[in-house]
């Protein structure tokens, strides 16, 4: 499995990743590190506690990391959540709607991790 094939499988943008990390080797190195990135866990924990500030921080961090790795769909989903909980601005969504979007995010995140694990196994 090549890096490019991985990006196709998880719905990421290889071109975006390439703009940040100039070689396939580097992209491969950092995409594996995404398995250990704590941002998603922080977001889950903060949302479970209905901690608005923590939810913002977790979503915002996930957005940044995913953007750097070219995981654009994940980044966009995280960005929506971050904006919902941005400090100083009013909430626009019901909690139930947030939960629906969290579900979508969980599914996309799980699919991405599966893809990366498959990539890791093929190395």
């Amino acid at each position: 499995m090549t890096v490019q094939e991985l990006y196709e499988a998880v719905g990421g943008s290889y071109e975006s990743a390439k703009r940040v990390l100039p070689s396939d080797a580097l992209i491969g190195k950092f995409i594996l590190k995404f398995l250990n990135d704590a941002s998603f866990g922080k977001l889950e924990a903060a949302w479970a506690a209905r901690d608005a500030a923590g939810t913002f921080e977790g979503a915002h961090a996930l957005k940044g990391v995913c953007a750097n790795l070219g995981l654009n769909a994940l980044s966009a989903a995280a960005s929506e959540l971050a904006e919902e909980f941005r400090p100083g601005s009013a909430r626009a969504l019901e909690d139930a709607e947030v939960e629906r979007r969290m579900d979508a995010l969980r599914e996309a995140y799980a699919r991405t991790l599966d893809g990366i694990r498959a990539f890791a196994g093929a190395q």
């Binding site: 940040v20 921080e57 957005k63 750097n68």
Partner: protein, 561 residues
């Protein structure tokens, strides 16, 4: 000039402040070939790095949302500290949120990059921002000294710092030159002649010094040169020229600090060479001195004393001892001198010779002196209240104390607060200080004297005696230096002592002879008509309790109220 050839340009250092480990790793990966990278995982850790390594940080890459201190707090705190004005900050934001960006700009951020990072855009922005800051910082500095053509002090320091940072293993020596009695030359020959002389000296040293890297003018008549280290003794090149067409013979003193420690600041490096010069100032025939380990130990010791002095004063580690003076006419104690002792729990008994001159240089002596005066007043008050015998106590004043504009008023207020007759507090003045600022010192002493405080001239005959001071200061007591009594008893020739006592008599001054140790000396001083004797023959300096016991045992019935 250095900086060329084998000496490489240093990598600049950037600080990454970002809580996400992965983002930090990516940035480090992208920047490591061009920069030394420091990392901090939140705003507080970033500020700590800025404080500890601020001088070397060329730029900060700052995330916005982080735990502990976020990017806004980091910027606000950085902005409030002028030390970090010159360090530019690029914000890294994933948000594209305009409010955030405006707020960061208001707090002093210079630029933005957004996640995902674009490596080339980011690096270009960093380079141009660093270049801009460095060139504008350099514009503010005068690179060259107009008079001598050497580098200016600031630029010399800059070159030195840069060179050592880029080449920490470079072996080099710092040489400082200092023209002996330059001020007198200036007065005598005028500025124009002296400027010509300095220019000539700078040129000549630049030509003569072996392995010269660069030089700077770091004081009016003080030059510093960085040279490559040499194992052989090359210093005779310094002594070759000592004649000037206008001045005739002149003397330049040189201090050499070998194998410069790259961890030191430029100022500290130059200090080491000038410290070596200070050791040979006014010593005829010795014109080159090296900074050595003994000087380093002394510096470390002074640093240690400076670090602890304030806590020591607050913790009452400074203790007043009293050395009784014996009144030869009355045959009993007639006064005492208050002497300070520093008894430190960590360092033990600190030699006053070490800390007094240090405190005179750094100005702390004034804090210490006020403390001692108050301790003495409190002691006198305690004895008076207890009905114990009391004699006048003389306290030392330092030249630095005269910089306090209302010194006389403050001393009077202190004595009054303890309800003490002013005649109980004698002001002891070292004669050599009188040459510093005679007008100011005379005025303050006049005010003290008019307030009823007797004034004693200390150390008469110890060295720089100028008979003028006897005539122009409001004196009551002359303290004759112990060197005169030692010399008199060693040679059995009391003629100088006799002269000193006669002189004091003629001016209606009481005399105190210090350093008296033997019965023969006491007998001779009685014959000479001396008034008071201070010395081990009667007593060493005593802590307060023993001093009180001494007075109780030796004072007669006549007790001063």
């Amino acid at each position: 000039m250095a900086g060329e050839g084998g000496v490489r340009q240093r990598k600049r250092t950037v600080l990454i402040v970002e809580d996400n480990e992965m983002n930090r790793e990516i940035l480090r990966e992208l920047l490591a070939d061009e920069y030394d990278v420091l990392e901090a995982e939140n705003g507080l850790a970033g500020l700590e790095k800025l404080v500890s390594r601020g001088e070397e940080i060329a730029l900060v890459l700052l995330d916005v949302y982080m735990p502990v201190y976020n990017g806004f707090e980091f910027l606000a705190r950085k902005q409030s500290d002028p030390r970090f004005d010159a360090v530019p900050v690029i914000m890294m934001t994933a948000s594209g949120n305009v409010d955030d960006e405006i707020r960061c700009l208001e707090l002093g951020a210079s630029d933005f990059i957004t996640k995902p990072y674009n490596a080339e855009v980011m690096k270009n922005r960093m380079r141009s921002l660093i270049r801009l800051r460095e060139s504008s910082a350099m514009l503010g500095r005068l690179e060259s000294d107009a008079l001598t053509g050497l580098n200016s002090k600031e630029y010399f320091y800059h070159l030195l710092t840069d060179l050592l940072r880029a080449n920490p293993s470079l072996r080099c020596d710092l040489v400082c030159s200092d023209v002996e009695n330059f001020r007198a030359m200036n007065d005598r020959y005028g500025t124009a002649q002296c400027d010509r002389f300095l220019r000539g000296l700078a040129n000549s040293l630049s030509e003569r010094l072996p392995g010269l890297l660069f030089g700077g003018r770091i004081g009016a008549d003080v030059f510093a040169f960085l040279i490559e280290h040499r194992e052989d003794d090359w210093t005779d090149v310094l002594l070759r020229e000592n004649e000037d067409p206008a001045f005739g013979r002149f003397v330049v003193k040189y201090g050499v600090y070998e194998n410069v420690d790259p961890a030191l600041s430029a100022a500290a490096i130059c200090d080491r060479a000038t410290l070596a010069i200070a050791k040979i100032k006014q010593s005829f025939g010795t014109n080159v001195a090296r900074y050595d380990d003994a000087m380093r130990q002394a510096q470390l010791r002074e640093h240690q004393l400076e670090q602890t002095m304030e806590a020591a004063l607050a913790g009452r580690e400074f203790v007043v001892y009293y050395q009784p003076k014996h009144d030869l006419h009355a045959g009993q104690p007639g006064g005492a001198e208050a002497l300070v002792r520093w008894i430190s729990p960590e360092m033990g008994f600190v030699n006053p010779g070490q800390f007094i001159s240090l405190f005179e240089r750094n100005g702390f002596i004034t804090n210490l002196d006020f403390y001692i005066w108050e301790e003495v007043c409190a002691e006198l008050r305690r004895c008076l209240d207890a009905g114990a015998p009391v004699v006048p106590v003389s306290v030392n004043v330092s030249r630095r104390d005269f910089e306090v504009p209302d010194l006389a008023e403050r001393v009077a207020a202190l004595a009054d607060r303890y309800r003490l007759d002013h005649s109980l507090l004698h002001i002891e003045l070292t004669e050599s200080m009188y040459s510093d600022n005679p007008g100011q010192i005379a005025r303050t002493l006049e005010a003290l004297h008019a307030n009823g405080f007797p004034v004693e001239l200390d150390d008469f005959g110890s060295g720089y005696s100028s008979l003028t001071s006897l005539n122009t200061l409001p004196l009551d007591v002359m303290k004759i230096d112990m060197s005169l009594i030692r010399q008199a008893s060693a040679t059995s020739d009391y003629s100088i002592l006799r002269f000193a006592v006669l002189l004091a008599d003629g001016m209606r001054l009481k005399t105190v002879v210090e350093g008296v140790e033997t019965e023969e000396q006491v007998a001779a001083l009685k014959v000479l008509g001396c008034d008071y004797i201070q010395g081990y023959y009667y007593s060493k300096p005593l802590p307060a309790a023993e001093y009180e016991a001494y007075l109780a045992a030796h004072c007669g019935q006549e007790v001063r109220a």
